[in-house]
């Protein structure tokens, strides 16, 4: 399962970004193992339409799970339509810690 986490920086030591569409980075990690990868969100500072475009980025990478704080009204239906499960993370930990919590089944599913 490929997990995407919104993050303030390009590595798992960085804190989780609470906003989805304007997250500076999207980090990816497979639950089956392998390395972390990251994509800079080129629309983080765009004029508008950031939610759907961020969703397109996450979908194109083939994520199955998304971990973030808040997801906007435009991105939400896109992520849901793509069949990606959303888990909410509202603490101030790092992306790596959020991933660990997800693996341990400690995160709340967003519905």
């Amino acid at each position: 399962m490929l997990v995407c986490i919104t993050s303030k920086g390009p590595t798992p030591e960085n804190p989780v970004e609470e906003r989805f569409g304007r997250s500076p980075y999207f980090l990816f990690k497979d639950t089956e193992g392998g390395d972390w990868s990251s994509v800079a969100n080129k629309f983080a500072d765009a004029a508008g339409g950031v939610g759907p475009r961020a969703a397109q980025t996450v979908i194109d990478k083939g994520a199955h799970v998304l971990i973030t704080g808040n997801i906007g009204g435009n991105a939400l239906p896109v992520i849901q339509a793509a069949g990606i499960e959303i888990y909410q993370y509202r603490d101030s930990g790092t992306a790596g810690e959020a991933f660990q919590k997800y693996v341990e089944g400690q995160l709340k599913k967003f519905s």
Binding site: G48, G49, V50, P52, I59, N74, V78, A82
Partner: protein, 282 residues
């Protein structure tokens, strides 16, 4: 002549001036009164009447699923993030679309065509003799106010005397209203807020080269800060409306002050004569 009543700062009395000026002049001539404050149109509150409406439309893409291969080119092209392409379907966000038609051009399959979507309407009424009121109204949650203003003004084109109530602010909606106008009256109040916003709005009229003058509203006698600025920019003060509870109550109730307060009508007619005498006004 198309005369715009503008202000920069909201709530200085634009609508009060536009409504009373139009009603004063209508004794002698035909007037089209255009409400270009399409986010919050208020002129109609002074002129309640039966309305006919026409929709304001914008272009949006329509996707032909039988042709679409989900290649993603349209989503990539869209500068506004209005199109997301999933494996099995397209998701489109009409309120983010600016109607540029780019997706139709880039689609290699010819699967996109443009159709119309309403974003507001223009209301027409004839509330009193010799006044036609044209009101632009943008739908709630829409953002393309300049487009609604453009369509509203298009219906007034060619009329000999058009008075426009402008939107507040100094950005694209004001530019859309001012562009091509023959004269502009800025309504301001003698406070640091009024002065600050008058400076900005007068800057827009200057850029567009539109002859302008100023009405000072809610004057308490001491209008030096406004007058100094007007003098420095060569903006004539065309009228001073005193700070008066009676005027405030009339305006708040949707009444015309020219019908409540003696002598006001003559003063609005004088205002119009002064506008006509502004240098550069035909």
């Amino acid at each position: 002549m198309r005369l715009v009543i503008a202000s920069g700062k909201g709530g200085t009395g634009k609508t009060l001036v536009a409504a009373n000026l139009a009603a004063s002049l209508a004794a002698e001539r035909e007037i089209v009164l255009a409400d270009c404050d399409v986010e919050e149109p208020n002129l109609h509150l002074f002129f309640p009447s039966e309305e006919e409406t026409l929709p304001v439309m914008t272009d949006v893409p329509e996707f032909d699923n039988s042709r679409c291969t989900k290649c993603g080119k349209c989503g990539e092209f869209c500068q506004y993030g209005a199109i997301v392409v999933l494996k099995d379907r397209i998701m489109f966000f009409p309120e983010m679309c600016h109607g540029c038609g780019g997706c139709e051009i880039v689609c290699p399959e010819g699967a996109i065509s443009l159709k119309k979507r309403p974003i507001g309407h223009v209301a027409f009424s004839a509330p009193r003799e010799r006044i036609i009121l044209v009101t632009g109204v943008m739908n709630e949650r829409e953002v393309m106010s300049p487009h609604v203003i453009r369509e509203t003004l298009a219906y007034t084109a060619g009329h000999p005397l058009i008075i426009c109530d402008a939107p507040p602010g100094t950005a694209c909606p004001l530019v859309e209203t001012l562009e091509g106008a023959d004269a502009c009256v800025f309504v301001t109040e003698p406070t640091p807020f009024g002065l600050h916003d008058l400076k900005l709005a007068a800057g827009v009229a200057e850029v567009l080269g539109i002859p302008s003058g100023v009405v000072i509203n809610r004057s308490m006698g001491d209008d030096e800060i406004i007058r100094e600025f007007c003098q420095s920019r060569n903006l004539p003060v065309l009228m001073v409306i005193p700070f008066d509870r009676e005027i405030a109550v009339a305006a708040n109730s949707g009444d015309l002050v020219i019908e409540k307060i003696q002598g006001m009508k003559t003063r609005f007619i004088e205002l119009f004569e002064k506008v006509r005498a502004l240098p550069g006004v035909e």
